[in-house]
Every structure is written in structure tokens, then in C-alpha cells.
């Protein structure tokens, strides 16, 4: 095609496919930030947002998964109300309520998980990847998310690092649960598409 239209440089079929997936996963991450499951009592709502980073890494690999989360952040900076509670703007990412580091952490986590699971730029089919590697990839993603998010929070809110870590510690079991759900979804064959 591109030889017939010299002025138009078409995007390759594979790239279009991955790009469309990355954009929709960015939009899904934005959607998941708005929808949470209410837990009984005074427990914090069960946020589904980490799934965005998990699926970006698992399904798209480091480059396209990273692009998905970068697009998510940029859409928020450009003014789409894509962060939790419908927030937007560069200010929310940089300082916000101290949780901006977790947003950047999602981007780092998607790249880390994608790199471990796919070991290259091109995503490979997930049935070629063993469960232990998928779990290891997502665990590394979680570590990356907290490694960026907690010190960031401590510096914005002026809390000591230990205090910031102890505020976030109750969320860790929930995140491990989300990790188990994500791997379960992949293993359960829910994502096999005709």
C-alpha cells in the first residue's frame, strides 16, 4: 500500500493492533480508577486500578504496555478526568494527594512486568509463558509500584518514610489478591478470543 501512496506512510498492521490495545487498556485503567468495590465496615474501597498496569504488562509487553500507561498519564495531564475521583492535571500527578507516585509507579510496573513476562519488545502469546514467570513479573511490578509510590508520598506529604510505608501497608494484601485474580483470569482462559 505504502508504495502506491508516496505521501502517506501507513502504520504496520501489527503496530496498529498493539496500539489499539494499548489505547483501550489506557482507557480501561482510567475507567477502573472510577469504579471500586465497596467493602463492609471501615475498610478502604477495593480499587481495581492496578489491573490496568497488570494487564498492560501481561498482554502488551514492556514497550506497548509502557505506552498504554504513558498515554493514560498524558490524557490526565491534558485534562481528562481519568485519575481517581475524576481528578486531572499535571499538578495531580506531581503532588495531588501524595498518591501521584503510584500513578508513575503503574507505568514503571507495566514496563517491569512486560519485560519479565515477554523478555523482549514484541509481546509473545501468554500460553507460552509459565505461571511462575507471570507471577514473578506481576510481583516485580508491585514492588516497582510501591518503590516509586511510597517515597514520593513521604516527600509530598512530609511524612517520615516509615510512617508513609505503614499507611500503605494495609493495601498490600489487597494488591496480592488482585495479582492472584489477574493471573487467574489469564490462566482461566477468559482472554482467549476467537
Amino acid at each position: 500500500m505504502s508504495q502506491e501512496h508516496e505521501s502517506v506512510d501507513l502504520v504496520g498492521d501489527d503496530a496498529v493492533e498493539y496500539f489499539a490495545k494499548a489505547v483501550l487498556i489506557a482507557a480501561l485503567t482510567a475507567g477502573l480508577a472510577q469504579v471500586s468495590i465497596q467493602l463492609p465496615g471501615s475498610l478502604p474501597p477495593f480499587s481495581l486500578q492496578p489491573f490496568g498496569a497488570f494487564f498492560a504488562g501481561l498482554l502488551l509487553g514492556p514497550v506497548w504496555g509502557g505506552l498504554a500507561l504513558a498515554v493514560y498519564l498524558l490524557a490526565g495531564i491534558a485534562g481528562a478526568p481519568v485519575f481517581s475521583s475524576g481528578n486531572a492535571g499535571l499538578g495531580y500527578v506531581l503532588v495531588g494527594q501524595g498518591t501521584g507516585g503510584f500513578l508513575v509507579g503503574f507505568l514503571v510496573g507495566a514496563v517491569v512486568a512486560g519485560g519479565i513476562v515477554h523478555r523482549g519488545v514484541t509481546p509473545r502469546p501468554l500460553d507460552e509463558v509459565g505461571v511462575p514467570i507471570q507471577v514473578a513479573g506481576l510481583l516485580a511490578a508491585l514492588v516497582a509500584i510501591y518503590a516509586v509510590g511510597v517515597p514520593w508520598m513521604s516527600s509530598v506529604l512530609g511524612l517520615e518514610l516509615g510512617r508513609a510505608a505503614s499507611i500503605m501497608a494495609p493495601y498490600v494484601p489487597f494488591d496480592l489478591l488482585k495479582l492472584a485474580i489477574a493471573v487467574g483470569i489469564v490462566q482461566g482462559g477468559y482472554l482467549v478470543r476467537e
Binding site: L24, G79, A88, I185
Partner: protein, 245 residues
């Protein structure tokens, strides 16, 4: 929530690159605040920025109310001590000072969001990140604007369907899995259709974008951004030559 409104304010007339640069520089300067004077300066500057966008500070505070509430809670958390006397003023004051740096940064980014159309931000992103990565980021941002409301609606539909079937009695694990699976399923179906539609429309690496042009009034704004970003480096030098207080 704040979003772009067409207008003729001074902030509307600026180039998005100048505004993005100013925003970033302002954030660096605001976060470096360590004295009351410096802090007041950032509030005053943020007030000027809001005035140039004809945006009321009360409106901004109302839109960021959740964020501000969380911020106000931070010093309480910082000062909490497990055991008598239950509260330590030292860490609480440090946290309150840290938190006080945040609202001006939020105000400046609210002014940006209010006065900059998405297409301009997209063009600025593509200018900032050249080549194919910039192209994809730019197109991606516009597509996220298009698909975000659809996916929120999808997820709400799924959640309503789960509730309609008595799903709130199931465990969090099952509900989380159902929501994630159905949400992802609809997402992937949409991405297949989007890929097909992009190919059918000859999705190309070289589309036509609005031409950005730096006018005379953009230079001072961009320069102010650079100056603000460098301000924390200059301060100690100034302090050594001009005894303060």
C-alpha cells in the same frame, strides 16, 4: 470537574508549550519552598495565574475538594503517636509545611486544563517527543478522551448487572474477577474494532496537525518557567550575599 472552556483570556492566548513549561517550572519552585516568604510567593504567583485564566480560586478548591481533604488529614497522621501523649507537634508541623506547598501547583494545573484544548496538548506532546513515539502518544491521548466515557459506562453496566443478580453477597475475589474479566472482555472487543477502523482509514505516521506558533507573548511565560525551575538552585547563593532577616 474542570475541563477546557473556549475563551479569550490572556491564558487562552498562550502557546501550550509555554504553558506546559511554566507549569513544570512552577512545580519545581513550589516544591522547593522551605520558608514562609517563598511559600507566600508561590501562592501570589498562583493567584496571578488564576486571574490570567479568569478562574476563581473557590471554584478550583471546590473541584479539588477530595484532594484537599486528604492533604489536610496528612499532618494529623504524621503527628499521631501510638500511646500517650498521642500527638507530637514536630512531625505534624513538618507535614503541614510540606502539604502547604501543594495547592498552588494544583491551581496552576487547573488553569492549564481550563485554557488549553486537547488538540493543542496533543500537538505539544508531539513537538516535545519527536518521531513515531510522539505520534502514537499524541493520537493515543485523543483516543483515550474518546473511549474513557465508554469504558466507564461499560464497567458501571457490568457492576449494575452483578448487583442485579445479588452479586454483592459474593466474595470480593469473585466480584473483582467478574468485573475485571467482563471489563477486559469489552475492552479487547473495542480494541479489535478500533484496530480495524484505524486500518480502514489508512492510519498513517504523518497526519496533519494544528500548526503551533510561538508568539512574542509566549517567550516571557516560557522564560518564567525556566527561571522558576532554576530558582531553588539560585536561592542559597542569594542568601549568602544578602543577609535575610
Amino acid at each position: 470537574m474542570l475541563s477546557y472552556r473556549p475563551g479569550t483570556t490572556p491564558a487562552h492566548g498562550l502557546d501550550p508549550r509555554a504553558k506546559l513549561g511554566f507549569q513544570a517550572g512552577f512545580a519545581v519552585a513550589a516544591l522547593a519552598a522551605s520558608s514562609a516568604g517563598w511559600l507566600l510567593g508561590t501562592y501570589a504567583l498562583a493567584g496571578l495565574v488564576l486571574a490570567s485564566a479568569r478562574l476563581s480560586p473557590i471554584r478550583v478548591a471546590r473541584d479539588y475538594r477530595v484532594v484537599l481533604a486528604v492533604l489536610a488529614f496528612a499532618p494529623v497522621l504524621a503527628g499521631f503517636v501510638p500511646g500517650p501523649p498521642w500527638f507530637d507537634a514536630g512531625p505534624a508541623t513538618r507535614s503541614a509545611l510540606a502539604v502547604a506547598r501543594v495547592p498552588p501547583v494544583l491551581a496552576v494545573s487547573a488553569a492549564y486544563v481550563r485554557t488549553t484544548p486537547v488538540r493543542d496538548t496533543r500537538a505539544a506532546v508531539q513537538w516535545l517527543v519527536p518521531g513515531r513515539v510522539g505520534q502514537l502518544l499524541g493520537v493515543g491521548v485523543s483516543l483515550v478522551f474518546r473511549f474513557f466515557p465508554l469504558l466507564v459506562a461499560d464497567l458501571r453496566t457490568v457492576r449494575a448487572a452483578i448487583h442485579a443478580r445479588g452479586g454483592q453477597r459474593r466474595s470480593v475475589l469473585v466480584r473483582g474477577r467478574l468485573l475485571a474479566v467482563r471489563g477486559l472482555d469489552r475492552t479487547l472487543a473495542r480494541s479489535d474494532r478500533l484496530a480495524l477502523a484505524l486500518r480502514a482509514r489508512c492510519f498513517a505516521w504523518n497526519p496533519t496537525l494544528p500548526a503551533l506558533s510561538f508568539r512574542r507573548r509566549d517567550y516571557p511565560v516560557a522564560a518564567a518557567g525556566v527561571a522558576l525551575a532554576c530558582a531553588p538552585l539560585v536561592r542559597p547563593v542569594v542568601g549568602t550575599f544578602i543577609p535575610v532577616g
